[in-house]
Symmetry: C2
């Protein structure tokens, strides 16, 4: 099957969204927790999370246009901190449910039945049920002018994971903690290791 | 296990890179093919690819600092077009091998044994062996000043996939074409579907 730009434009909006969103491949899917200035919590599922570098430890994510998804980005601007929490199968339905539109004043933590935990007194919570999670401090928000989205960049300042999933060289076997991947708008996947390959060298 | 910023700074460079790079979760891994102004091909494996939006159909990827990875970004700037090609297990070793440093003038296509195909006369090739692939036109290159990386944004103008993997609603079951995910610097994974979940609604 083949599409060009003009072929894509003939697709209805939902078909096009499903196709384009799955074309770019498997994604990291996680819950982003934030608080507003008054400490009211917000929790939302995000799948466009990308590693930017290890030193400094930078992670970026894409926030949809503010009209569609105002709270996470506004809270991050207000407080400068947020957490990213991996999802496993036992909390998948609750995690997906955070994408519903809740009224002002309703925290998704309460609405979906996940618990906020504040392990070290920082204002922004982790998701207690999540097994791999990290806290970031905002570095920069870059507007993507072509479609009104935002690329939010933060530096990791705290992280938690089950010790038994870490290899000697630092690598985390996140599948052993049940961490999921996503595909498209609404597809969720488990992952199985095939290989870790050695550093590639030129072979004349 | 728990780390803070100060704990991370005590790790050796490789352990830190493996840890931080796997923390952000499963990634889309693909081959990016480019050409220079003279039509000389280049092929490189990238794993930080992110969906930005379906209409316009925008995809971003992170290019490492130019000193470390000069060719892909320079070719994209020169020609404005590039292709992203999914990887399956049969071409995993060749795909990983593209990350080696080849001398000027050596095309990774020839060096690793993958074939360039030019299905519609456009200057930039697809990887013939890849089953899901798409061509983009450069929209913008955004510098990430915090670590010297680059966020490259393109619009999809052509795409190819096996018809039998497409659901009626447009979604691509890319696992049926064997598309892989990656984790960290050197981990490769296959993925198995758990669920597609319905659009989440507020339930008072």
């Amino acid at each position: 099957m083949e599409y060009t730009t003009s072929g894509l434009s003939t697709l209805d909006r939902f078909t096009r969204a499903n196709l384009i969103n799955s074309l770019s491949g498997f994604k990291s899917v996680s819950l982003i927790a934030t608080v507003d200035k008054g400490g009211r919590t917000n929790l939302a599922i995000f799948s466009n999370i990308v590693h930017l570098g290890a030193d400094p430890a930078l992670v970026g994510f894409v926030n949809r246009p503010r009209e569609a998804a105002p709270h996470t980005i506004a809270n991050i601007e207000a407080t400068g901190v947020y957490t990213i929490n991996h999802i496993h199968a036992d909390i998948l339905e609750q995690s997906h449910q955070t994408s519903a539109k809740y009224p002002e004043g309703v925290s998704e933590f309460d609405a979906v039945g996940l618990e906020a935990e504040f392990p070290d007194g920082v204002i922004v919570p982790y998701v207690r049920q999540s097994r791999i999670k990290y806290r970031l401090r905002l570095k920069e928000i870059i507007p993507i002018t072509h479609n009104g989205t935002w690329f939010v960049i933060g530096e990791i300042e705290h992280l938690v994971f089950p010790q038994e999933i870490q290899a000697e060289d630092g690598f985390l076997r996140i599948e052993e903690a049940g961490s999921l991947a996503s595909l498209g708008i609404d597809g969720y996947y488990s992952a199985s290791p095939i290989a870790r390959l050695p550093y590639a060298k030129y072979r004349p």
